[in-house]
Amino acid sequence: MSFFPIRQVKARVTGNHQVAEATFRLVLSAKEFPAAAQPGQFIMLRTSTTEDPLLRRAFSLHDRKDDHLGILYKVVGRGTDWMARRRPGDVIDLIGPLGRGFSSAPPLRKALLVAGGMGIAPFRLLVRSLQSEGVEILLFYGARTAGDLLELEEMEAASVSLLLATEDGSRGEKGRVTELFREHFRKVEPSASFKIFACGPQAMLYEVARIALGQEIACDVSLESQMACGLGTCMGCVIATGSGYQRVCREGPVFSAQSLLLDESAVKHE
């Protein structure tokens, strides 16, 4: 486990555009933000200048280019609503990069990415990193409806093969992305040079992890949890693993499928 320098940065908004229903892409100029940030790491964002809301909010690093960093976010409550009302020039306080990202040690030939809903957020950086290593990429991506499928052009432009599913059938297969993913292994022989990377709702991730374990393919899942500090100090964000409760913000947010306790009782009900 390697730790990168953590910085508290006052970043300046350079863009904040709506990309889908209630979904925005925030671009921040943050010179002092460490360049060494890894795909799958996250930042803690102060989503007010008052005490309401009080705690920071966690967001995956969505993009990192020159002095800029990007966040892909959905408005679900007060913090994200505040974010959606930021304009270019406004300042946002953030801390990062935090946690442990995806690990893609060679020999990796083929990456199977599985995203559910906003789980697509960290994959832009991951795809970029995998491609620089010449890895072939398949993306299984599910959402409620066609309009919630994000980043499709970007992924196509990066010659990622797309396999889509929507719950209402408005695009791709009708159903859940985990079904699509499970289906895949009826046709494809797993190999030791494959690796799965998944991000999305916890129930989906645990399902993917179980499939991965069944197929004996290495698998990283990126979890979410209620966080207070994001720094590993409050012990609030833990998840059940084989070696006890571990911090999503420090030992995670990316965990290997093997390390997690996957039985139903460990799964957060949502």
Binding site: F3, P5, I6, Q8, R46, E51, D52, P53, L54, L55, R56, D93, I95, S225, Q226, M227, A228, C229, G230, L231, G232, T233, C234, M235, G236, C237, V238, I239, A240, G244, Y245, R250, K268, H269
Partner: protein, 313 residues
């Protein structure tokens, strides 16, 4: 030291025989074992740091979800997940010894005897400057708050621990009582060297869509700015009745809050939840207290403690 306003106010305080370079501490459970925060700033700038509550054996803590946000505050039910006293001494203390600040070990046990055992281990572990006795954690089933809301139990625990260690002993009081001064006096009578208050208020939050409490354990401890008025009142009340130095905490987020606790009678303040909101806030508080002292002609920070004018009524 001459007792007249100087250009460089003296921020140092001595609490329970522990000399601190300034009166700003960090609260147990909000600062890990210090290590985590050392990536963000130089810990030697703190008056002292208090580590996460330590128990005799490692503890796995409560099932998640363990935290949720509330108006100007948060609930937690961590359940004292910690690596245990031995691993602490072996793995964490070496790092802390190298930092030029005071280290306070917050401890917790399932019985008075277990508390004493933990204290005794620390007594011989080089690098701990003081012990903070957590008899007020609302997040563990047995013990914890039970010790801190029953006068006889408080006496028993403090007595046991007092015998087991020569380290300065700080007793951390629970706010979940009718009259906190009773508990302050009980701890004083049993040989505590200082008091710290307040721990969290017992609270609850409900997810109405799931019809379930937001915390897996149902209830948790409320902290943050929301509880500051209650904390300030208790620090004031306790300071009126005890000669022991008081470490005030509960919702301190800025220098103005810190000064309020000092005026109310505290000798130092501890920053808890605010570490999550703004990690650098303890340093800003140190600087802000200094500014306040300059502006109001205080030369030594001790002069602030209890300098409150209560008026006529």
């Amino acid at each position: 030291m001459v007792n007249q306003p100087s250009l460089m106010p003296d921020l140092s305080v001595e609490i329970a025989g522990i000399l601190m370079k300034n009166p700003v501490l960090t609260g147990s459970g909000t600062f890990g074992y210090g290590e985590e925060m050392s990536q963000i700033y130089d810990l030697s700038l703190l008056g002292a740091l208090t580590v996460k509550g330590l128990s005799l054996r490692p503890q796995s803590g409560n099932r998640p979800p363990r935290i949720c946000e509330t108006p100007a505050g948060m609930l937690n039910s961590i359940g004292l997940q910690n690596i245990g006293i031995e691993a602490f001494v072996r793995d964490k203390l070496p790092f802390l010894r190298r930092i030029d600040t005071r280290v306070i070990a917050n401890i917790y046990g399932h019985s008075a005897e277990e508390y004493a055992e933990v204290a005794n281990i620390l007594d011989s572990a080089n690098g701990v400057d003081g012990i903070e006795l957590n008899i007020s954690c609302p997040n563990v089933k047995k013990g914890g708050m039970a010790f801190g809301t029953d006068r006889a139990e408080t006496c028993r625990v403090v007595r046991h621990v007092r015998k087991a260690t020569r380290l300065p002993l700080i007793v951390k009081l629970s706010p979940n009582v009718t009259d906190i001064t009773e508990f302050a006096l009980a701890a004083e009578d049993e040989g505590a060297d200082a008091l710290s208050l307040i721990n969290t208020l017992l609270g609850m939050a409900i997810d109405i869509h799931e019809k379930r409490p937001r915390l897996s354990r149902g209830v948790g401890g409320l902290s943050g700015p929301a509880i500051r008025p209650v904390a300030l009142r208790m620090v004031y009340q306790v300071s009126q009745v005890t000669r022991l130095p008081v470490i005030g905490m509960g919702g301190v987020v800025c220098a103005e809050d810190a000064v309020a606790f000092l005026l109310a009678g505290a000798s130092a303040v501890s920053v808890g939840t605010a570490n999550f909101v703004d990690p650098l806030c303890p340093l800003e508080i140190v600087a802000g207290i200094e500014d306040y002292m300059k502006a109001h002609g205080f030369s030594r920070v001790q002069e602030l403690s209890g300098a409150l004018d209560m008026g006529e009524s």
